[in-house]
Symmetry: none
Subunit: 229 residues, 4 copies
DNA sequence: CATGAATGAGCTTTCATTCAT
DNA sequence: GATGAATGAAAGCTCATTCAT
């Protein structure tokens, strides 16, 4: 037992509340920022709005993020690029067929990214890359490159096992990527605010794409999981 | 012949020319605006640049369009729809297989739209739809709906002839659309300003997509036209 | 006589008032800027104040000067460096002794610069050079270098004619410069806002300095002009 | 000897140390502030920097000085006057010629003040006097007045002994002061951060000035001390 | 006493829009 | 009609100052 617990603990107790706030701030700011960036775009989001939504003042935002661009980068790291390691690990431990893996990956992406607010980031990047070259570079390096590498690995795995016919990896990647990115872009632009009956059902959209993709890649069409007996 | 015809005629000629110019003004402004909006996006395009490129002054721009937003709307109204009738007719007179027709359509789209400046409009619409709901509506009605109908007809033709397996038309459309729209979006955003060796070759991209699409849709893989003896 | 005077003149007449204002603007802004820079320093002068004092809005200032630093440079060019050519010419045409020339130069400097608001610029530069390295560079190149060259020429002239004893030009320059710069700095700082009886009489100050300077430089002390019979 | 003297004594020792530190605080802050004000000027010195350099937090600074301006005033009060008595005594006991004394004084000033950080204070005062009239008053009384008196005594001594020609003391003072003040100002502003080959050599500068000053004041040019056999 | 997280007024600069000519 | 000088509302970012702990 510590002989001077009150001395040891005192500073902590005193600081506790403050620190709890301080620790929470970046997260609060990041989620406020993501929401606003996705809602209104990067350029159209004012730094002060982000601060206000996070419940702090303009100055505080810049206490945690040195510029609006750095804030955006942090949002991307928090919501996308920071997760590649885990996804990669999950892929490594997958033991089913490559067709199943591919289907699995695409649906998992939908579940964890595509259907969440984070998906708006991809759309935002597509919209504003031209005006923020540095952010575009960042995104290409931190998201596009590792993302493509992940897809490439799935395709390679299928080709190695003989499940998939040989395809040029460079362009094969887009067989997988295009449906995902189009859906994201669509839902955050022209597919937004339409009558419910004309809205796209993402799962139907995905299954149609995956089915045809795999029919094209494999010798034998694999069954959808939902059709598994 | 009068020694100074231009002076004698001046009042008329000048007025004539002026009026011609005056009538042409909106068109010149619209095409300057389209180019710039496509190049730089809506927010990043300065009104003065548009005026300058159209050869008029800043004030004149606002004489014809009450605001930058109105100009944007006018640009979109001016530059889309109107070609569907011809494309539809061309499709009717096509006598080859449906696989050939599908390939043909996609490559024709690339040739006539995707690779031209007009493609920038789709990207523009995707980027700015969120900020212009009214424009988005307009675009959906005038462009998306007839465009999708055209694609639907090709798929229906293939299914009717037994070439294509049955697919849900509603979602099958996106098997064709997604690759086209993704390419457009990509090339105007993150795919822009990258090292030439990392740039996407559109034809290789398209052929990879079409091959796999048709392999998925048909019982028998159809040959590429370029491979036809 | 022009056959169409009204056509030729019309545009001019119409524009006249506008243009007169436009032509006057830079000058009005420059003098407002100089006054404020001298009164409050470069950093402490807000761009909007300059505009307001010149009777225009903030935006107008930036229509004529692309930045606050450029405005300052223009002030310097207008009031100091732009006049070296004339001063140099005047020096060339001087036919008296070098001692007279030196006295003349120093008193002329006082008359045309030192006693005017423009003198505040030197003091300002001394005060703020450290925080605006680019301005300091500019000032060294546009003012210090040519100014020193001018002084050097006077000394050289006197040494060539045998009037002045040989001195190291590099440091001799400061025999002339130091008294001028000290007076300027003093009057705009600690010498400011003191009781009239403790204020420095610039002419007495100058004559004391010039007398001793020339006594030191020449074999024979030259008379002051005011003492010339 | 107690095995844990520091623990036993802690309450006292800690308080003692704390109070010593507490008493030292203002001094540490003042010297940090002086260094920074001299290095970067008043406006460009951030309060937090001062605190950091003094090893305390931003808040603590404002505990001791109610504002940045008050800190500045305290810095000036702390760092000037107080040495005049000694200098005066040294002057009284000087037994050489007045020319030698004058040379001696100027070089001693350079050695003890001009070349040290304390010189920055003069420059600081010159730069910021306009914004702190109260400080300017203080400085004039505590520094300028006694300093000038000292110089006046040297001149008077030379005139009394017949070494120096008669000069108006009021203005003669500046024959001595101007070179010193100009050098100080110059070295802390435009003479700073220039290529070493264009930098001013203070000793050469001083000797050039003193030589000419004495040539002007005396009938016979006195030798430099360094030239004395 | 000491801290440092938080504040918000203030700065320079941009640009859609207006309006006298 | 056409012009372009003039406007002024923002926006991003800094930093002296405050105050809960």
């Amino acid at each position: 037992m510590s002989p001077h617990p009150e001395i040891v603990d005192a500073p902590c107790a005193v600081r506790a509340k403050r620190e709890r706030r301080k620790d929470a701030r970046p997260g609060e700011l990041l989620s406020a920022a993501m929401e606003l960036f996705v809602e209104k775009g990067f350029a159209a989001t004012r730094a002060e709005e982000v601060a206000t939504r996070a419940g702090v003042s303009k100055g505080t935002l810049f206490l945690y993020f040195s510029s609006k661009e750095e804030l955006f980068k942090a949002v991307v790291r928090e919501n996308i690029s920071g997760r590649f390691a885990q996804w990669s690990a999950e892929m490594d431990s997958f033991s089913g067929s490559s067709a199943e893996l591919l289907r699995c990956c695409m649906l998992a992406w939908w579940d964890r990214v595509g259907s969440t607010k984070a998906a708006g980031i991809s759309k935002l990047m597509m919209s504003e890359a031209g005006n923020f070259p540095e952010l575009a570079d960042f995104y290409r390096n931190e998201v596009v490159k590792p993302g493509n590498a992940l897809i490439r690995r799935v395709l390679q795995r299928g080709m190695d096992s003989g499940e998939f016919r040989p395809v040029d990896l460079e362009y094969g990647v887009y067989l997988v990527l295009a449906p995902m990115m189009f859906l994201t872009t669509w839902r955050h632009s022209l597919g937004h605010f339409v009558a419910p009956q004309t809205e796209l059902d993402p799962l139907a959209y995905f299954n149609t794409h995956i089915d045809n993709l795999l029919l094209g890649l494999c010798n034998q069409a694999p069954l959808r999981q939902s059709e598994t007996p």
